[in-house]
C-alpha cells in the first residue's frame, strides 16, 4: 500500500505528498496535463519543444538551473504523448527553493525569439540523434502512422517532421503556455523527506496566488475500430531484418489494460517466458523478441517486435509469432505461470518503493490518467486477474483485423 496525502488549492492545483523518511532528499514534481496528443497536427513536437523553453528563465529568475544548483539541486523533465513532467530533487533543507522555482515558472515565462531559435536548433539535433541517425530509429514513427488514422498518437512526441519544429512561432509558444500551463491543469507531487503540513503550507504560499486559467482542452479524436490487416514494408541499412506487430488495446482506465499487461508478461517478460524459450532458444527464429504494452493513457498498442535470425524469412517469423498468439487464446495459462508474473509484479512494487523520485513520477503518471489513487488500485486489479481473463482478452486482441504489421527489411 502506497500511503500518500491529497490536497487541492482554490486555484485548482492538486497536491500529493508521499513521505519516505529513509532518504535525506526530497523530490518536487510538477506534472502538466498536456502532451503530444493535445497538439495541432500541423505543429507536432510542440509540447516537447515547449518543455525545453520552460528552462529559459523568467524575469525574476533568469537562470533556473543556476538557482537550483545553488540549493544542491538537480532537475530534468520529460514529455510523453499524454503529459509533460518536470521534476527536481534537493536536500531536504532546501525544499522551499524548489517551491519558489516551480511556482515562478508556472506564473510566467520570459519568452524571446532568440531563446526560441536556439532551442529549436537543439530539438532538431535531438530529432536527428534519436530518429534519423540510429539504426531502427524511425520504427516508432512508421508503426504509429500505420496503426493510427485519427488519434494523435499517430505522431511521436519529438514530432512528425523537422519543419513543424522549425516553423513554430513565438506567438504560438505564448499561446500554448497560457492555454495549458496553469494550476488547474497540473499536479504538484512532493516525495521523500517531507511533512504533509509543511508542504501544504508552502504550496499555499507559493502557488496559491497563481490564477486559475480556466483550462479547456479540445476533445481528443478517438480512433475508429480497425477492420482490416494493415501491412507496410520498408528497406533500411540495418544489420537484421525486424518484424513488428501492433494491436489496438484498452486504455489505462480499463481493467482490460492490466489483463493485456499480464499477457505481455506471460509471453515475453524474462528469460523463462514463452517466446524467449520457444522462439529464441528452441526454434532459433529470432535473436530478440519482445511483447509489451505501449503504456499510453488512451487506448494504446500491444506490440510484438522481433529481430530475425539470419536466413529466417518474414513469413516464417510471422507464422511463429501467430502460433504463440493463438496458443494463448486456446490454452489456459497455467497457475504457475500466472503466479510467476504476479510475484514479479509484487517484487517490482517493493523495489520501486526504494526510490522516492520514482514514486513521485509514478504518482504523476496515475494522476494524469485520472487519479493517483490508481497506484494502489492497480495491485488489486492485477491480483484479481484469472487465467480465463487472459484467454478471453487474448481472443479479442490477437485478430488479424486488429493488427498492423511492419516489415523492416535489412538492405542486402
Amino acid at each position: 500500500m502506497v500511503k500518500f496525502y491529497r490536497h487541492q488549492l482554490s486555484n485548482g492545483l492538486q497536491i500529493l505528498v508521499y513521505p519516505d523518511y529513509s532518504t535525506p532528499m526530497v523530490a518536487l514534481d510538477v506534472c502538466y496535463h498536456v502532451g503530444a496528443k493535445n497538439e495541432n497536427p500541423n505543429r507536432t513536437g510542440f509540447a516537447h519543444l515547449f518543455e525545453h523553453l520552460m528552462f529559459g528563465g523568467t524575469k525574476r529568475i533568469p537562470d533556473y538551473d543556476e538557482a537550483l544548483q545553488h540549493a544542491g539541486g538537480e532537475n530534468n523533465a520529460y514529455t510523453t504523448n499524454d503529459l509533460t513532467n518536470y521534476y527536481l530533487t534537493v536536500p531536504k533543507e532546501n525544499l522551499e527553493t524548489g517551491f519558489w522555482l516551480e511556482a515562478d515558472r508556472m506564473l510566467e515565462l520570459d519568452f524571446s525569439e532568440e531563446k526560441l531559435n536556439i532551442q529549436k536548433n537543439v530539438v532538431i539535433e535531438e530529432f536527428k540523434q534519436r530518429n534519423l541517425n540510429q539504426p531502427y530509429g524511425d520504427v516508432w514513427e512508421l508503426l504509429r502512422s500505420l496503426a493510427y488514422e485519427v488519434h494523435p498518437y499517430r505522431w511521436q512526441t519529438i514530432g512528425k517532421e523537422i519543419s513543424h519544429i522549425a516553423d513554430a512561432s513565438l506567438d504560438e509558444v505564448k499561446a500554448f503556455f497560457y492555454r495549458y500551463y496553469a494550476p488547474d491543469n497540473a499536479a504538484l507531487i512532493l516525495s521523500g523527506n517531507v511533512d504533509e503540513d509543511l508542504c501544504v503550507k508552502l504550496a499555499e504560499k507559493w502557488f496559491g496566488s497563481i490564477p486559475n486559467r480556466q483550462v479547456n482542452k479540445a476533445p481528443i479524436p478517438q480512433e475508429p475500430k480497425q477492420t482490416a490487416l494493415r501491412e507496410m514494408t520498408v528497406e533500411r541499412d540495418v544489420p537484421d531484418t525486424a518484424l513488428y506487430l501492433a494491436f489496438h488495446m484498452p486504455g489505462r482506465q480499463e481493467r482490460g489494460y492490466y489483463v493485456c499487461d499480464l499477457i505481455s508478461d506471460v509471453l515475453s517478460n524474462g528469460n523463462s517466458s514463452r517466446m524467449y524459450q520457444r522462439l529464441i532458444k528452441e526454434q532459433k527464429l529470432f535473436v530478440e523478441l519482445d511483447a509489451y504494452v505501449s503504456g499510453d493513457h488512451d487506448p494504446g498498442l500491444f506490440i510484438v517486435s522481433g529481430k530475425l535470425a539470419g536466413g529466417v524469412t518474414i513469413d516464417q517469423a510471422r507464422k511463429a509469432i501467430w502460433e504463440e498468439l493463438r496458443r494463448i487464446q486456446e490454452e489456459p495459462v497455467t497457475a504457475i505461470e500466472l503466479e510467476k508474473v504476479k510475484n514479479k509484479l509484487e517484487a517490482n512494487v517493493v523495489y520501486s518503493q526504494m526510490n522516492y523520485l520514482h514514486m513521485a513520477q509514478e504518482l504523476a503518471g496515475f494522476e494524469n490518467i485520472d487519479r493517483a489513487e490508481r497506484i494502489n488500485e492497480q495491485m488489486l486489479i492485477y491480483r484479481s486477474i484469472t487465467s480465463s481473463d487472459l484467454m478471453t482478452r487474448a481472443g479479442q486482441l490477437f485478430r488479424e483485423t486488429n493488427c498492423s504489421q511492419l516489415n523492416y527489411m535489412a538492405k542486402q
Partner: protein, 424 residues
C-alpha cells in the same frame, strides 16, 4: 505577486552519513562485506571475480564466459534457472568489465533461501554446453554488428585504441571475426583459471540479518573450489603519437566527437581538484560546454565531459554528437573553453555554484543502500578507503579559483589532447 520576489534562504547541506560495510570472511578466505542499510526487505548480492578482459588470452573470453554462466549448470538448465529467478521476482545480472567478472542478484529477502542454491550451482558447476554457446555467439555477434553502425560506438573505439595502444586490454579491440574463433575450450580454460574462490569477493547490501552470512558460508565457504594464483600481468600503455583521427561512416547524419587525454588516477593528489574542474568544464547541466555549445550555439542536443577511472589508467573525455556541418565549429569551441580555463580564473560565483551543486550530488551518492554500496566500491575497487570521501569533502569546501587555474594549466593543454570524429 510580491511573494514571488523573495527568494527563500539557501542552506548548505551537511556531509552525508557514509556507511562502512562490516567485514567478514568465509572459511575458505572469501572476503564478505555486509552493508546493512535500507528499509525494504530487499538484498543485493554481488559476487565479484578477477575475471575481466585483463586476464584474457583471447578476445571475448571474459564476456562470453561470464554470459555462459546463466546458460546451464549441473543441476539447472538455463531455462530452469530463468524460471526460478522469474518465479521469485528476482533479478540476476552478469557483467564482465576490464578487471572483474560479476554476478549480481537482487531479491526479496524471503526468497533468498530458494535462490542461493541456484546461484551456487551456476557459479561452481557451469556446463558451457556447445548448443547454448552457439546461440549466444550468434546473438552477441548480431548485437555487435548493430552497435558498430552507431557513430558514437565507432568513435569511442577509435578513441580507446588511440589512448591505450592497439594491443592493450583497455582498448576496445573486438572484431566481428572474433565471434567465429572463440571456442568452448577457451571459455572452460578461462573459467577454471578465474572463477575460483581465491579470486572471489562478495558484497551484500540491504536490510540484512544474521542469517545471511550463515547462508553464504553454507553455499560458498567450502575449501574445494580454490585455484592457482593468477599471473600478474604488466600491460604497458602505448598511447599513439598521432593525435587526430577520422572514422568514416557513410550516410551518417550526425558525427560523434571524442576529445580527451590520459589522466592521473584516483590516488593522485590532484585527482579531486580535477573532478571539480571537470564539473565546471562539462560535468553538469550548466557546465561551460553545455552553456556555450548547446544553449548558446544550439549545435548539439548534449555535450559533456567526464573523468574515467580504470584500475591502471585514467582518462578525461569530452563527448558529443552534432550535425556534420557543426563538427569543426564544435571542436574549435571545445578548445576555446580549455583555453579560457587556462587563462582566466573561475569566478567566485561560478565556483560557489559548482560547490553547492556537488555538495548536493555528494548526498545523492550515499542516498539509500545501493548508492552506499556503489560508493563503497568506487573506492574499494581501487584499493582506497573511505578517507577518500573525507578528502573529497574538504577539497570541495576549500578549493580556490587559483588552485583550479593551476590545475588547468597543468592538465588542459591542447597538445595533450586526442580528437576523434566519426561520421560522414
Amino acid at each position: 505577486m510580491i511573494k514571488q520576489e523573495i527568494q527563500p534562504p539557501i542552506y548548505t547541506p551537511g556531509k552525508p552519513d557514509i556507511l562502512t560495510p562490516e567485514a567478514h570472511q568465509l572459511t575458505n578466505g572469501i572476503p564478505l562485506r555486509i552493508m546493512n542499510a535500507g528499509t525494504q526487505e530487499v538484498t543485493r548480492l554481488d559476487f565479484l571475480f578477477d575475471a575481466g578482459t585483463w586476464y584474457e588470452n583471447k578476445h571475448l573470453q571474459a564476456v562470453m564466459t561470464n554470459a555462459m554462466l546463466q546458460e546451464g549448470s549441473q543441476n539447472y538448465s538455463g531455462a530452469q534457472l530463468a524460471e526460478i529467478m522469474d518465479f521469485r521476482g528476482a533479478y540476476i545480472q552478469f557483467l564482465a568489465d576490464h578487471h572483474l567478472g560479476g554476478i549480481s542478484l537482487i531479491a526479496l529477502n524471503k526468497h533468498l533461501p530458494y535462490l542461493l542454491p541456484v546461484v551456487e550451482d551456476l557459479i561452481k558447476n557451469p556446463l558451457f554446453e556447445q548448443a547454448e554457446l552457439d546461440t549466444l555467439i550468434t546473438r552477441r555477434k548480431q548485437r555487435f554488428l548493430l552497435e558498430n553502425k552507431k557513430v558514437k560506438v565507432l568513435c569511442q573505439k577509435r578513441f580507446s585504441t588511440a589512448l591505450f595502444g592497439d594491443s592493450h586490454p583497455y582498448a576496445q579491440r573486438v572484431k566481428a571475426d572474433d565471434f567465429n574463433t572463440i571456442k568452448r575450450e577457451d571459455l572452460v580454460e578461462f573459467y577454471q583459471r578465474c572463477y575460483r574462490s581465491n579470486h572471489c569477493r562478495i558484497l551484500a547490501t540491504g536490510k540484512t540479518d544474521e542469517k545471511l552470512p550463515v547462508m553464504l558460508e553454507q553455499h560458498f565457504g567450502a575449501a574445494d573450489w580454490a585455484g592457482e594464483a593468477l599471473l600478474i600481468r604488466d600491460r604497458k600503455l602505448q598511447p599513439n603519437s598521432e593525435k587526430e583521427y577520422h572514422v568514416s561512416q557513410k550516410d551518417a547524419i550526425q558525427s560523434a566527437i571524442r576529445i580527451g587525454r590520459p589522466l592521473v588516477q584516483k590516488d593522485h593528489p590532484d585527482y579531486i581538484g580535477l573532478q571539480i574542474l571537470n564539473t565546471i568544464l562539462g560535468g553538469y547541466f550548466s557546465s561551460r560546454l553545455m552553456a556555450n555549445i548547446r544553449e548558446e550555439k544550439g549545435y548539439t542536443y548534449g555535450i559533456g565531459s567526464s573523468i574515467m577511472n580504470l584500475k591502471n589508467a585514467g582518462y578525461w573525455v569530452i563527448a558529443t554528437e552534432t550535425a556534420n556541418e557543426y563538427v569543426d565549429a564544435t571542436v574549435r569551441e571545445v578548445f576555446l573553453e580549455l583555453k579560457k580555463l587556462r587563462e582566466e580564473e573561475v569566478s567566485e560565483a561560478e565556483l560557489k555554484r559548482v560547490r553547492q551543486y556537488l555538495l548536493g550530488e555528494f548526498i545523492r551518492d550515499f542516498d539509500g543502500p545501493f548508492a552506499q554500496a556503489q560508493s563503497f566500491r568506487a573506492v574499494d575497487d581501487f584499493g582506497l578507503d573511505q578517507q577518500f570521501y573525507d578528502a573529497y569533502y574538504q577539497t570541495l569546501l576549500t578549493i580556490t579559483p587559483a588552485d583550479l587555474l593551476d590545475l588547468a594549466n597543468r592538465y588542459l593543454n591542447e597538445e595533450d589532447f586526442y580528437t576523434v570524429v566519426a561520421g560522414a
